[in-house]
């Protein structure tokens, strides 16, 4: 496991995700060598509260992704609410206001599918708690392109539908609790 090196981690979460991320992200070591990119489904009218809060409690810097921003280690990026977040070949972000995908904007599938194109087998995709099946197509593509798929243990997840749907869609590599996901990621420093 440790011999493989990864360039980026993408995380998708929905219902119950704010609590899960508030638990997981502060565990991550500040010298983690790969950027973390997160889609958390939010109500459309939410503001920057979540990233500000997480930035206070995390060791890594947490911010909303800006369009054309260069993706760098040391940061946890969040898709802004009401925009899809895409990754370009030159490892910068794009934003889009396209229709909702699987009823969601931002959509986990959109992030994961574009990330798979860019990072291929050096990508880790993670699906956490949620009440829909967004992310299942994306995690499938990540696996298909040789990346690693990690899913939060449905037994631990506040809502198990999204993890379960991800597990059904593809052969995932690890099913872990949030604590274990933290440990798992920290081994890469």
């Amino acid at each position: 496991m440790k011999t493989m090196s990864y360039e980026a981690v993408v995380i998708g979460a929905s219902a119950g995700g704010v609590e899960a991320l508030s638990k997981l992200l502060p565990l991550l070591h500040p010298r983690l060598p790969m950027p973390i990119i997160v889609v958390q489904h939010m109500s459309t009218r939410s503001d920057h509260y979540l990233t500000q809060y997480l930035d206070r409690i995390c060791q890594l810097s947490v911010k909303e992704a800006d369009e054309k921003e260069i993706i760098s280690p040391g940061f946890i990026y969040f898709a802004p609410s009401n925009y899809h977040l895409l990754i370009e070949m030159d490892r910068t972000f794009s934003l889009a206001v396209d229709e909702r995908v699987s009823f969601s904007r931002p959509s986990i599938d959109v992030l994961f599918e574009t990330a798979a194109d860019v990072y291929g087998r050096s990508l880790i995709g993670m699906i956490l708690t949620g009440a829909n099946s967004d992310g299942s197509r994306g995690i499938h593509k990540i696996k298909q392109y040789g990346g690693l798929a990690v899913v939060q243990d449905p037994l631990e997840a506040e809502i198990d539908k999204m993890p379960k749907s991800a597990i059904q869609s593809t052969e995932v590599d690890y099913i872990l609790s949030l604590d274990k996901i933290g440990e798992f990621l920290n081994q890469f420093i």
Binding site: E67, K68, E88, A96, D98, E113, T114, Q144, Y145, G146
Partner: protein
């Protein structure tokens, strides 16, 4: 798939997409070459799947030889998602900071570039009316997608969106009753004709068409995010040339001119709302 196959596939897809965009430009004059790639690729892959084609070369062939097919899928390359008073605080800031300045001018020209189905334009018309700017104002509303322009001109919107628009309107500082601006039909609403009298709708492509003279304010929201930095520079250059001295520029909430090569030609009026003003020199 094995690692190398994947790399090869992604690399080939990139090449095929470049070729396809080149082909579309040469054949039909629509230039998507400077659009953000990840996005345009998603749209193309989506169309390829819908048309039941197995690779991009087949899609290119079909696009070149089947004109009807191209015009059928063209609208899918332009994302038309919009709403009335989208980002209410943007309109609130226009109302408070910008309109009072514009009001002092003898005549006002406003350009909505990439107006989509018109919701944004009618929002502006409502704002102007409430602020007492009804005469000597001309609004040019443009888009390169003729289908959405036709819808914009009609000003008919689904009744299901009215609740959200009313909420937006109120948060944008609306001083009247939103219901006064439309008449209800069965499952749609029709924008009041009085709002249309100062608006001209026109076909204009920001990538391939020219300057749109002497504007006091240009509103171009959620269009530039679809462009590469290079194309953004080009289009903002077009806006610089289309604005009169001290003219205003309003962008979408995730767009900024800060990193653009024309940034020094503007001052920021409200950075949070992405409202800028052209400097004299």
């Amino acid at each position: 798939m094995k690692g190398q196959c994947v790399d090869q596939q992604v690399e080939n897809e990139e090449i095929e997409i470049s070729l396809l965009l080149e082909a579309i430009y040469l054949k039909y004059g629509y230039d998507f070459r400077g659009y953000a790639r990840a996005h345009i690729k998603r749209r193309i892959m989506h169309q390829m799947a819908l048309a039941d084609l197995s690779n991009l070369s087949e899609l290119q062939h079909k696009i070149l030889y089947d004109r009807g097919f191209f015009y059928k899928i063209l609208p899918d390359f332009s994302i038309n998602v919009t709403e009335m008073f989208r980002d209410p605080s943007f309109y609130m800031t226009l109302r408070r900071e910008v309109i009072p300045i514009l009001k002092k001018y003898p005549a006002i020209k406003i350009w909505h570039a990439g107006c989509s189905t018109g919701e944004e334009v009618y929002s502006m018309a409502i704002l102007l009316q409430e602020e007492g700017v009804t005469d000597n104002v001309q609004i040019y509303a443009t888009d390169f997608n003729e289908a959405v322009l036709a819808q914009a001109q009609q000003g008919i919107y689904p009744i299901s969106s009215i609740k959200e628009y009313t909420y937006n309107y109120q948060r944008a500082g609306g001083s009247g009753s939103f219901a006064d601006y439309y008449t209800s039909q069965i499952d749609s609403v029709k924008i009041d004709a009085s709002l249309k009298k100062n608006i001209v709708f026109a076909d204009h492509n920001l990538v391939t068409d020219g300057v749109f003279g002497e504007m006091n304010m240009i509103i171009c929201r959620n269009v530039l995010i679809y462009f590469t930095r290079k194309l953004q520079n080009q289009v903002i250059g077009l806006f610089v040339d289309s604005l009169c001295p001290r003219g205003f520029l309003g962008l979408g909430s995730k767009e900024t001119i800060r990193f653009c090569e024309h940034a020094h030609k503007f001052e920021s009026i409200a950075e949070e709302e992405k409202i800028y003003r052209k400097l004299i020199k």
